[in-house]
């Protein structure tokens, strides 16, 4: 029977076809290939939704699609599709946002008469293909492959305006930094294949399951480097985490993301906010069953996440360019997701992933709209007063901002609250490390409120500060439509998992939890398998929940604190910036501002490592190579020729010398062989 899953490969392959069409035929098509991408993504979205509905009907899908390498007497490499609630959800998010970004690009790119559009749409389509394939990958190697491919697309799209120096440099940096992370990911992947002989995510033959059995003593696996199973799994988990940290721009590999804003804004929205950056977090969620076996890895994830959330938010406080604020806010928000995953909040992480994808895409697209209006000027200090000139953008942007800041009842409030809540209860439950993460996350909430509304007020409120802001460039339906759709979603998407409300009222409202729990037991990816009473989190990670103020009390107090902090931040921003002519209040921070503007000198030390350590090292190696190694080769030749020159001089041209030499040689031979032969 033909069902949704039979068409699953097409979810990714349709954009691939669009890639080919746009690349080779884009110049001859209306809209330069955009329509191909839009058509393909409509198809992908429809199929994704169909798959989602089918999953809702209780069906899941895990099948080999293609044998990449058929090993003989050894492991084979497959490409396969795993559609469970998590991936189905992600497929819909990705295809939806990608579709909207394509539509938006019509306004942002086509209407602005950019050149190279077929290339743009081809790359965007290729990205969609790669990202969708990454999402439904059923094994780690396939995930890695498409993880790399989205990296390529990111590189290409950041560097879209290659004629300028900035984008190509930023593209290089983005690829390199994430590649550095991917190195660890690849080592981890290879290690996992070597350990388990498989990279499958789900099922009884999957590596999380085998690892679980190994720890339970039901199955033995080969470990390396003399490490015990638990320790080795931790090493593997941390290695894979390297890729996650790179791709999801977590500290210390976050430095590429702000630079990546050199790319076209729709690209920032799609790749560097909503989807590709989510790939890292998604990967942790995808193999959560493996991470739950290692409390150390979880702790690292939580701390990295919490620290990144705070760290990035602090830098966002002082940025002057719209997209820079959003970039740091993206880093910060992914920090929350990592915090949630590290803190045992699987559902919370996925929830925040979902809402963030929506509201951050919205904010970027809104920023894009503003940038169109401002003739590609991104500096917020040149804006002001755009509220009245572009109301649709303003209200959509506001919706997104409220969600980002975590203001009740916008989507971000619910998800962020759940993240913090989960971390808190597990922190109290005997993992005090998580409390540090929680504290950082909480502080970041206040920062988030402040920078979000500083951004909103500087951009839309007050008096126009430049001529462009006075008379902005108009935008068309193709910009407004995606904004409107996402604006509404940002406001209401929280309903999918109203955990606090459920806790308080007892009405069953945690739909996302139920949804993620629908994965069949055979997959081992269901929520109860992870965090249920007998789930891995209790058995292996040693997390337990504790509610110091009772369940309801803790929920309410936690929500109140975070909401309060968000409002406090927002309020401060209101006081400082919601005035007709705001000033640079952050100047009062003094040298701290300098530090923040310079991003804690994170870029500097990484550039230093690349330019002042690696490059000189390579030049030293080159000098060594040229002088010593090649020197030996050339010296061998010189010495030979010199020796030849010397040998040649034996031939003096005087025949008497020859006679002498012959006689002497003969005498020498006679003496030596006479001595050896005992003639004397």
């Amino acid at each position: 029977m033909t069902g949704a899953f039979d068409f699953a490969p097409a979810i990714a392959l349709l954009p691939l076809a669009a890639f080919a069409v746009a690349l080779f035929g884009g110049n001859y098509l209306p809209k330069r290939g955009a329509l191909a991408g839009i058509t393909a993504l409509v198809g992908s979205l429809v199929l994704s939704i169909w798959a989602l509905v089918t999953v809702a009907g209780g069906e899941t899908y895990d099948a080999d699609l293609y044998t990449f390498v058929a090993g003989q007497d050894t492991l084979s490499l497959h490409l396969g599709i795993l559609i469970d609630p998590l991936s189905a959800l992600m497929l819909v998010i990705v295809s939806l946002i990608a579709l909207l970004v394509f539509v938006f690009s019509l306004g942002y790119m086509n209407d602005e008469d950019e050149t190279g559009l077929p290339r743009y749409y081809a790359e965007l389509s290729l990205f969609s293909f790669s990202m969708l394939a990454f999402v439904f990958a059923d094994n780690l190697l396939m995930a890695f492959m498409f993880f790399e491919l989205v990296g390529l697309c990111s590189y290409l799209l950041i560097g879209f305006w290659f004629r300028e120096a900035g984008p190509s440099s930023a593209a290089k940096k983005a690829f390199l930094v994430t590649r550095f992370g991917d190195y660890f990911f690849l080592v981890g992947t290879v290690g996992i294949f070597a350990t388990f002989g498989t990279g499958m995510f789900a099922g009884s033959e999957s590596f999380p399951h085998m690892a679980e059995q190994a720890l339970a003593g039901e199955h033995s696996v080969r470990t390396f480097l003399g490490l015990g199973e638990q320790a080795w799994f931790t090493v593997l988990g941390l290695l894979v985490l390297g890729g996650v940290i790179g791709k999801s721009a977590q500290f210390p590999l976050h430095t590429w993301l702000p630079d990546a804003m050199e790319g076209p804004t729709p690209v920032s929205a799609l790749i560097h906010a909503a989807t590709m950056v989510a790939a890292g977090v998604y990967l942790v969620a995808r193999m959560y069953g493996f991470y739950l076996l290692s409390p150390t890895a979880l702790g690292v994830i939580a701390l990295v996440g919490g620290f990144t959330a705070l760290f990035a938010a602090s830098m966002a406080l002082v940025k002057q360019e719209l997209k820079q604020v959003l970039a740091y806010s993206t880093i910060s928000q992914y920090g929350y997701m990592m915090l949630a995953l590290g803190g045992g909040g699987y559902v919370a992480a996925v929830f925040h992933l979902t809402t963030h994808a929506i509201f951050k895409a919205l904010l970027f697209l809104g920023a894009g709209s503003v940038i169109i209006a401002m003739h590609h000027n991104e500096n917020m200090w040149d804006m002001g007063g755009l509220k009245d000139k572009m109301p649709v953008t303003y209200y959509a942007f506001l919706s997104g901002s409220l969600a980002l800041a975590g203001i009740f009842p916008f989507a971000g409030f619910w998800s962020k609250d759940e993240v913090l809540y989960e971390t808190l209860i597990h922190g109290f439950g005997g993992s005090p490390l998580l409390l540090a993460g929680y504290a950082m996350g909480l502080l970041a909430v206040a920062f988030t409120g402040f920078y979000t509304f500083r951004m909103v007020f500087l951009t839309f409120h007050g008096e126009p500060r430049t001529a462009d802001a006075e008379d902005p460039h108009g935008v068309r339906w193709n910009v407004k439509l995606p904004l409107a759709v996402l604006g509404i979603l940002a406001a209401v998407a929280g309903v999918i998992n109203l955990a606090p409300v459920e806790k308080v009222t007892g009405i069953h409202l945690t739909f996302l939890h139920d949804w993620l729990d629908m994965a069949p037991d055979s997959f081992g990816t269901a929520v109860h398998h992870y965090t249920g009473d007998h789930g891995l989190m209790h058995e292996f990670a040693g997390y337990t929940a504790a509610h110091p103020l009772g369940e309801t009390g803790t929920v309410l107090v936690g929500a109140a604190i975070s909401l309060g902090l968000a409002l406090a931040g927002a309020g401060l921003a209101y006081r400082l910036y919601a005035v007709p002519s705001p000033t640079e209040h952050t100047d009062k921070l003094g040298s701290l501002k300098t530090l923040l503007m310079n991003n804690y000198y994170q870029d500097e030390y990484q550039v230093w490592l690349a330019r002042d350590v690696t490059l000189p090292l390579s030049r030293a190696a080159d000098t060594f190579d040229q002088s010593v190694i090649d020197g030996v080769v050339n010296a061998t030749s010189s010495v030979s020729l010199f020796a030849g020159e010397r040998v040649r001089r034996i031939q003096t041209g005087l025949v008497t010398h020859y006679a002498t030499l012959i006689t002497l040689s003969l005498v020498a031979l006679l003496v030596v062989f006479g001595y050896l032969g005992g003639w004397f």
Binding site: T67, F68, V69, A70, G71, Q72, D73, T74, L75, L77, L141, F144, M145, F146, E148, L149, L152, Y155, L156, G159, F162, R163, E164, A165, P167, S168, S169, A171, K172, F175, L176, R179, F180, Y183, L186, V187, V190, G191, F193, A194, R222, F224, L225, A610, T614, L615, L617, S618, R619, A621, D622, D625, I629, D630, V633, S637
Partner: protein
């Protein structure tokens, strides 16, 4: 007789082209080179070889054995045949030769008939190396390759072409001699148990316990070790492996692009192919006993080669050094002694052949237009030659091991093979160290691309920059298609490769 017909067609073609007028030589050579190309594809489709041609149970396809020379108890034979390792390399050779010939139409503008005749001669030698199953026959082909290569570099090369050519010539010749002495010592050590210099016979005789006697004052173990390292050093020059690599950058920089294509694409693979055939198949026990030393060679080649590439300013030099780095992976795969290690190493030979060929070719196309290869002399080429630059980017990412291109499959297979190796102590550490090469390779290629391809357009040389002609770009597209085809479907070759390398693992003689 198919292989003989293939070789004869190439040799005959070389003769015809040598006598053809210069104007038509290029087109004629391209047409002639299609014969072996189609022929090799037919060989691939009709391939029915079993297992490894050198080991018992192996049945090479298209085998011919004719007595050639009788040398006091040793018979030398015309013995050719293909197994799963050689077929992909033969196809690599024929495709790259045709591509190189077409890519030479633009840059080669003097003594064309000589040039193309030598290229075809080179092809004949290369095909022979991969097909020969008798030591002396193999050695004839192995050495004959040097001759056209010498001329191709020395006549049509860059400013320091004579230095580079003679360095290549003498260095690799010394290496061959070292290898020869090592191998022959082994043969004599076997005494009367072999009557031919057939590689299968010698390989199989070496696997017999106690086959090797005392020779030249060396016991069997010492003899094996001495022979292993003599051959290893000999092949290491060809591969080339650090620290025997310094001829390579000079040769590449000075060689005309089509020659660089063949040099990097096929000639280097002769070294790794020979390592696989001789060192790692004939003397697995020595290899295993010295696994760490060999792995150190591999890792140093990967990392040091990549670091050197990072320091270069000449695009060709960058690719040349990165070839050293890539060949290090092959060595790592070989020493792992796992299916994916050996198979991945073989696959990497083919894959790197296509990718490095493509890379050199694309650099050449840029050079044809700009007349410079120095990174600092140009920027923003993407503006003027978008298709070429697009292929450059694709090739560079292929080099970096982008998934769905052949380099990824090859490298991942090597890593998957090397990591769990039971032969190599500390295999995970060695593997992880070597894998760091994938970061450095991204570093230098992205840096070079950023500086030359992107940014505002400028060119230090005074040339009117035109779009590359179609016959410059067509071979690029073909090679890129090969890279992608092998990247998407490695099993096109990987199945037969595994067939051929698996018997190596069953050889006795553990650590």
């Amino acid at each position: 007789m198919l292989l003989e017909a293939l070789l004869a067609s190439v040799l005959l073609g070389a003769g015809i082209v040598a006598l053809a007028p210069n104007r038509y030589a290029g087109k004629l050579a391209a047409a002639i080179s299609l014969v072996p190309l189609v022929g090799s594809l037919y060989l691939w489709s009709a391939f029915d070889g079993v297992a490894n041609a050198l080991l018992s149970g192996g049945e090479p396809a298209f085998e011919t054995t004719i007595a050639w020379i009788d040398l006091a108890g040793y018979q030398l034979q015309w013995h050719v045949g293909l197994d799963g390792v050689s077929v992909p390399l033969v196809i690599l050779t024929t495709i790259l030769t045709t591509a190189a010939i077409v890519s030479a139409w633009t840059p080669i503008d003097e003594r064309e008939s000589q040039f193309y005749a030598l290229v075809l001669l080179l092809e004949a030698g290369l095909l022979g190396v991969f097909a020969a199953l008798d030591f002396f026959l193999w050695f004839v082909f192995w050495e004959v390759v040097l001759v056209p290569m010498y001329f191709l570099i020395a006549i049509w090369g860059g400013p320091r072409r004579k230095y580079a050519a003679i360095k290549f010539f003498v260095y690799t010749n010394v290496a061959s001699l070292a290898m020869f002495i090592g191998f022959i010592a082994l043969v004599f050590g076997l005494g009367d148990s072999v009557t031919t210099l057939g590689l299968p016979e010698i390989t199989q005789a070496l696997q017999e316990p106690g086959a090797l006697g005392e020779f030249a004052g060396l016991g069997p173990a010492a003899l094996k070790a001495a022979a292993f390292f003599a051959m290893f050093a000999g092949f290491a020059v060809k591969v080339p492996m650090v620290p025997f690599h310094t001829w390579l950058p000079d040769a590449h920089v000075e060689a005309p692009t089509p020659v660089s294509v063949l040099l990097a694409g096929v000639l280097l693979k002769m070294g790794t192919y020979a390592l696989l055939r001789f060192n790692f198949t004939m003397l697995p026990d020595v290899a295993k006993a010295n696994a760490e030393i060999i792995a150190i060679f591999a890792v140093v080649s990967v990392i040091y080669g990549a670091l050197l590439a990072l320091a270069q300013r000449d695009l060709k030099r960058i690719v040349a050094y990165s070839s050293i780095s890539s060949m290090g992976y092959v060595l790592l795969g070989l020493i792992a002694y796992t299916v994916h290690g050996l198979g991945g190493a073989t696959f990497q030979m083919v894959s790197h052949g296509f990718i490095s060929g493509l890379m050199f070719m694309v650099v050449g196309v840029i050079y044809n237009q700009t007349h410079t290869r120095m990174v600092g002399d140009m920027s923003g080429l993407a503006d003027r030659m978008p298709v070429t630059v697009g292929i450059f980017v694709a090739a560079a990412f292929g080099y970096m091991g982008l998934p769905l291109m052949s380099g990824f499959a090859a490298e991942v297979l090597i890593f998957l093979g090397a990591f769990p190796s039971t032969v190599l102590p500390g295999a995970p550490i060695f593997t992880a160290l070597a894998m760091f090469g994938i970061v450095i390779v991204a570093g230098y290629l992205l840096l070079a691309m950023q500086r030359t391809l992107f940014g505002p357009f400028s060119l230090a040389t005074d040339y009117e920059l035109g779009r590359a002609p179609v016959h410059d770009v067509a071979p690029l597209v073909v090679l890129l298609a090969c890279v992608i085809a092998l990247g998407v479907a490695p099993d096109l070759f990987y199945g037969m490769i595994q067939d051929a390398v698996r018997p190596i693992l069953e050889l006795g003689g553990g650590v």
